[in-house]
C-alpha cells in the first residue's frame, strides 16, 4: 500500500545553505491550512497575512488602513459600505486583481463550508459597481464592518476555480490547502505541513517593502524549552511565544532580544450561572452557590491578581477589569477599576451568603491552551482555599476541555478571549455576555449561561450605532452591568513575549500576528 501512495507525495525541496537575509522563525503551532477562508484561527490568519491581502489591513498600532481597497465610505445613512479598489495589483501568478475577485472571495468566504462566514452575517448583498468599485449592503448600520473584515483575504477567481478550490474544504482539503496565490508581500515557495513552510518576497508587490528578507522559513516547535534552546544557539532568528519565565534570562544573554507587549487576549474565570447544583468537589449535588452574586464577588475579592502577575507572570502581564484590553476599541475607560484583593471581605461575603465555612466545588482548567494556564489555576485554588472555599482542580488538554465545557461539566472554569474579527468590545459581548441564542448566533461561548435582559436589549443598537460617543456610552453601561454582577472575573491580559536574535528588527502587533514584511535582518 505504501508504494501506491508514494507517487502522491510532494518531494521536499533541498534546503539551501544559509545566507545573510535568510530568516528562520519558529512558532508553537503550524498553520493547519493555507486556505484563508477555511479556518478562522489566529495561527492561520496570522500566517496568511504575509501572503494574502485583504481590502483593509491593520497598521502597526492596530488601526484600520487601506490595503487592496484604497478608500471606503458608508452608503447612504448606513445601508452598507462602498470600497474603491487599488489598481494595477497582480496576484503571485501574474493574474490581475479586480472587483470580480473580491465578489468571488466574498462568495467563497461566506460559503457554508467557510469558518469565517460569520464575518458576513450582517451582509445582505454585494454589488460590483465597476472593475474597481464594490458595495456591501448590511441588514443594519454597521460601523465596524471595515475593521471586522481586516482578515478577510482576497483570492483570484481564475486560479481558484481552475484548481477547483472554489469552496473551502477543511475536511478533505483541496488545492488551496497547500498552495497560495495571493497578492501579499511574500510568495509561498515550499510547504511541508507540520515541518517547514518557506516564503520568498513577492518582487512585484503593490506596496513598497520595508523588509530585507530574501527567504523566510517557518518551523513549528512544540516544546518551549527546545524553541528557547534553538533561539539561544542561533538555530532560529525568531521565536514566539517565549515562555514568560525565560524572558528575563534571555534578555540578559547576549545575542538575544526580548520583545514584550500586551496581547488582546483577556484571561477570566467563568461561573455556572444556570446550573441548580454543584457538579464537583466536596459539595457535589448541593445547591449552586455561584448563582449568588455575593459568592461570585467573594471569589473576585479572594484572588490576589497582583501576586499572580508578580510571580507567575514576573510582572509582565496586566490586570484586567473587563472583557477587553485598553488597546482595543470599545474599551470602557469608565469601568477601569477591578475588585481589590481583600480576603476578609471575601470571607464576610461568603458568610452572609450563607457559607461561613465555605464549600467545595470543581474548577476546570486547560493545561495546554494559554501560557501558564495550569499554574494560574493552581494559584487560584490556593487563594480560594485561604478564604475557605476549596476548589478541586481538574486540568486537562484543550482537546478534552471544550467538550467538557459545552457539556456543562463545570462549576467554575478558566477562559481566555481574544476578539478576533472586529477587535472591538462588542465581540466578547456577543459571544460571552449575551444570553445564548442559537439562531441569532449570540452567546455561543457563554457556557455558564449568564443572562441580563438590559444587556441583551442594548447589544443590537451597540452593533449598529454609528456615532462613536453614543456607542461608547452604551458599552460603558453594559460593562458596568456585567461587572457589578460579576458575570465573569477578568484576571489579566497575558503578555506577548517574542524572542529574536539581536540582529533582527521587527514590529510586534497586539493581536500577536507576526508580520514578516516589518522584519529587517541586520
Amino acid at each position: 500500500m505504501l508504494h501506491r501512495t508514494s507517487a502522491l507525495v510532494l518531494t521536499a525541496v533541498l534546503a539551501t545553505p544559509a545566507m545573510a537575509e535568510e530568516f528562520q522563525w519558529a512558532g508553537r503551532t503550524d498553520p493547519q491550512t493555507m486556505d484563508p477562508h477555511a479556518v478562522s484561527s489566529a495561527p492561520v490568519l496570522g500566517f496568511l497575512n504575509n501572503v494574502y491581502d485583504g481590502l483593509v489591513r491593520m497598521s502597526k498600532d492596530m488601526k484600520v488602513e487601506p490595503s487592496l481597497a484604497e478608500s471606503w465610505e458608508p452608503i447612504g445613512d448606513g445601508e452598507g459600505w462602498r470600497f474603491t479598489l487599488r489598481q494595477g495589483v497582480t496576484f503571485h501568478d501574474g493574474a490581475a486583481f479586480d472587483a470580480d475577485d473580491v465578489l468571488f472571495s466574498y462568495e467563497r468566504a461566506s460559503d457554508e463550508s467557510a469558518d469565517v462566514r460569520s464575518w458576513f452575517s450582517p451582509v445582505t448583498e454585494v454589488k460590483v459597481v465597476d472593475d474597481f468599485t464594490i458595495e456591501f449592503y448590511t441588514n443594519a448600520p454597521n460601523p465596524l464592518f471595515p475593521a471586522s473584515i481586516a482578515n478577510w483575504m482576497i483570492m483570484d477567481r481564475g486560479w481558484t476555480e481552475a484548481n477547483n478550490a472554489a469552496r473551502p474544504d477543511k475536511e478533505n482539503g483541496n488545492f488551496a490547502t497547500l498552495n497560495v496565490n495571493g497578492t501579499g508581500a511574500f510568495k509561498l515557495e515550499d510547504r511541508q505541513p507540520g515541518l517547514t513552510t518557506t516564503l520568498v518576497p513577492n518582487e512585484n508587490w503593490w506596496d513598497e517593502a520595508e523588509h530585507n528578507i530574501t527567504r523566510a522559513t517557518f518551523t513549528p516547535i512544540q516544546n518551549p524549552a527546545t524553541a528557547v534552546a534553538a533561539l539561544l544557539s542561533g538555530d532560529v532568528d525568531f521565536v514566539e511565544p517565549v515562555p514568560i519565565q525565560d524572558a528575563a534570562r534571555l534578555e540578559a544573554s547576549d545575542g538575544v532580544n526580548i520583545i514584550r507587549g500586551i496581547e488582546t487576549r483577556t484571561i477570566m474565570l467563568g461561573f455556572a450561572h444556570e446550573a441548580d447544583t454543584l457538579k464537583y468537589g466536596a459539595n457535589a449535588g448541593d445547591p449552586n452557590p455561584f448563582k449568588d452574586v455575593r459568592v461570585r464577588e467573594a471569589v473576585a475579592k479572594a484572588i490576589n491578581v497582583d501576586a499572580i502577575l508578580q510571580t507567575i507572570w514576573r510582572g509582565s502581564a496586566e490586570a484586567a477589569s473587563q472583557l477587553v484590553t485598553p488597546a482595543l476599541s470599545g474599551y470602557s475607560a469608565a469601568n477601569a477599576a477591578r475588585p481589590s484583593y481583600d480576603p476578609d471581605a471575601a470571607k464576610a461575603l461568603l458568610a452572609d451568603a450563607g457559607y461561613p465555612d465555605g464549600f467545595g466545588f470543581g474548577l476546570k482548567c486547560p493545561n495546554d491552551r494559554y501560557p501558564n494556564d495550569e499554574s494560574v489555576c493552581q494559584a487560584i485554588t490556593g487563594m480560594l482555599a485561604q478564604v475557605g472555599i476549596s476548589a478541586e482542580l481538574d486540568a486537562m488538554p484543550v482537546s478534552n476541555y471544550w467538550p467538557e465545557l459545552r457539556a456543562d461539566n463545570f462549576d467554575m472554569y478558566l477562559l481566555g478571549w481574544s476578539p478576533g474579527g472586529s477587535l472591538d468590545h462588542e465581540h466578547p459581548l456577543r459571544f460571552l455576555a449575551s444570553t445564548p441564542n442559537e439562531e441569532k448566533r449570540l452567546g455561543s461561548w457563554n457556557f455558564g449561561g449568564y443572562s441580563n435582559a438590559r444587556l441583551d436589549e442594548l447589544l443590537p443598537s451597540i452593533l449598529s450605532e454609528i456615532d462613536p460617543a453614543a456607542r461608547q456610552a452604551m458599552i460603558d453601561e453594559v460593562t458596568a452591568l456585567y461587572q457589578s454582577e460579576h458575570a465573569y472575573v477578568p484576571l489579566y491580559t497575558q503578555p506577548l513575549v517574542w524572542g529574536t536574535r539581536d540582529n533582527i528588527e521587527l514590529t510586534q502587533r497586539p493581536d500577536n500576528f507576526f508580520i514578516l514584511r516589518w522584519v529587517t535582518v541586520n
Binding site: P224, V228, P243, R249, T311, A385, Q386, L393, A395
Partner: protein, 318 residues
C-alpha cells in the same frame, strides 16, 4: 526480600531462618559487594524518608491553603524578596517548598512504581505460568497478546485507560484516578517480561521429576504451578521486579512529560521534573536540579541493587 531466594515462601521456616540467612552465600556476597551495600542503604534511606515524609517535611505541599504564591521562585537558602521566608532547597512557581514537595513526590513515585510493578508481576506470573505449563494454543495466544502489548507505547496505553477511566469513574474521584491510571498503564506495559521469564522457567521446571511426583499423586495443575513451579521462578522474577521498579518510576516521569501524569496539585517526582524542566533556561535551576538528583539517586541505587541481585541470584554464576 532475600528470604525468597534462601527459603521456601510457601512454608515459613520455624527456627534459625535468620541465622541461616545471615550465613547464606547470598548474604555473604552482599556483604562482600560495596556497590550492593551502598545502593541498598541509599534505597532504604530514600524509601523511609518518603514513607515518613509527613514527619520530616517542614510543610505539606499538597495543602493548597498553606501555600503562599508570593513565596514563588525563592532560591535555596535565601530569604524570599517579599516574605523573607527562606527554604532549604528553595521553592517552585507555586511557592511550594521544593524539599517537602520532593519528599511527598517521592511517596507518589514510589507508590506508583511499586504498585505498577506488583500489578505487572501478578499478571505476568499468571500468564507466564499458564502459557508455559499448558503450552499449545493458550501459549500462542498469550505470547501474541504480549506482542500486541509491546507494540503499544505505554503512553498510548496510559491515554486509553485514562479515557476509559474518565468515562466510568465518578467525577469526584478524578484526582486520585490519575494515579491509578498511571499504575495500570505502566503495569500493563511491563507484564510481558515477567511473563516471558516465568514462562521460560516453567518450561524447564515442568519437566523436572518433582513435578512428575506431584502429578503422580494427582495434584491439580494449579497447585503444581503455584506451590511447586512458582517458588522456583521467584529469583529471576525478583531481579526483574527490582529493575522494573526503577523503570516504572522513570516511566511515570516520562508519561507526565507527555502530559499523562500525576496531577500538578499532588506532583510526583516525575511531575516535578516536568515542571522543573520549564525553568532550565530561566535560572531557577533548583526547581529541576533537586528533584532530578533525587530521582537519579533513587533509580540508580535501585538499578544497581537489581544488577547485583541478577548476578547474586544466578546459581550458575556462583
Amino acid at each position: 526480600m532475600a528470604d525468597l531466594s534462601t527459603s521456601a515462601p510457601t512454608k515459613p521456616g520455624r527456627k534459625g531462618r535468620w541465622a541461616r540467612f545471615a550465613d547464606s552465600d547470598f548474604f555473604y556476597s552482599f556483604k562482600r559487594s560495596p556497590v550492593a551495600v551502598v545502593s541498598f542503604t541509599v534505597t532504604m534511606l530514600l524509601v523511609l524518608s518518603a514513607v515518613f515524609a509527613p514527619l520530616i517535611a517542614p510543610t505539606n505541599p499538597f495543602d493548597p491553603a498553606s501555600l503562599n504564591l508570593m513565596n514563588g521562585f525563592t532560591p535555596p537558602m535565601e530569604p524570599n524578596a517579599f516574605t523573607q521566608e527562606s527554604f532549604l532547597m528553595g521553592t517552585d512557581d507555586q511557592g511550594r517548598d521544593v524539599f517537602s514537595t520532593i519528599l511527598y513526590g517521592m511517596r507518589i513515585s514510589l507508590f506508583v512504581g511499586a504498585a505498577a510493578v506488583l500489578f505487572a508481576m501478578v499478571l505476568g506470573i499468571f500468564l507466564g505460568l499458564v502459557s508455559g505449563y499448558f503450552g499449545g494454543w493458550t501459549e500462542t495466544i498469550i505470547m501474541r497478546i504480549a506482542d500486541v502489548q509491546l507494540t503499544f507505547p505505554s503512553i498510548l496505553v496510559a491515554m486509553l485507560i485514562f479515557g476509559i477511566a474518565k468515562g466510568f469513574t465518578p467525577v469526584e474521584y478524578r484526582d486520585q484516578m490519575a494515579i491509578w491510571v498511571l499504575i495500570i498503564a505502566i503495569g500493563l506495559s511491563d507484564w510481558v517480561q515477567f511473563a516471558r521469564v516465568v514462562r521460560g522457567t516453567t518450561l524447564v521446571e515442568k519437566n523436572k521429576d518433582y513435578v512428575a511426583a506431584a502429578r503422580l499423586i494427582g495434584r491439580s495443575p494449579w497447585a503444581i504451578m503455584i506451590k511447586h513451579i512458582l517458588p522456583n521462578a521467584l529469583s529471576p522474577v525478583l531481579v526483574i521486579a527490582t529493575i522494573s521498579l526503577a523503570l516504572a518510576i522513570i516511566a511515570e516521569a516520562t508519561l507526565s512529560f507527555l502530559g499523562v501524569g500525576a496531577p500538578p496539585t499532588q506532583p510526583s517526582l516525575g511531575t516535578l521534573i516536568r515542571i522543573g524542566q520549564g525553568f532550565l533556561f530561566s535560572g531557577e535551576w533548583w526547581i529541576l536540579f533537586f528533584p532530578a538528583c533525587t530521582l537519579l539517586a533513587l533509580a540508580l541505587s535501585v538499578n544497581l541493587l537489581g544488577d547485583w541481585l541478577r548476578d547474586a541470584l544466578n546459581p550458575r554464576l556462583k
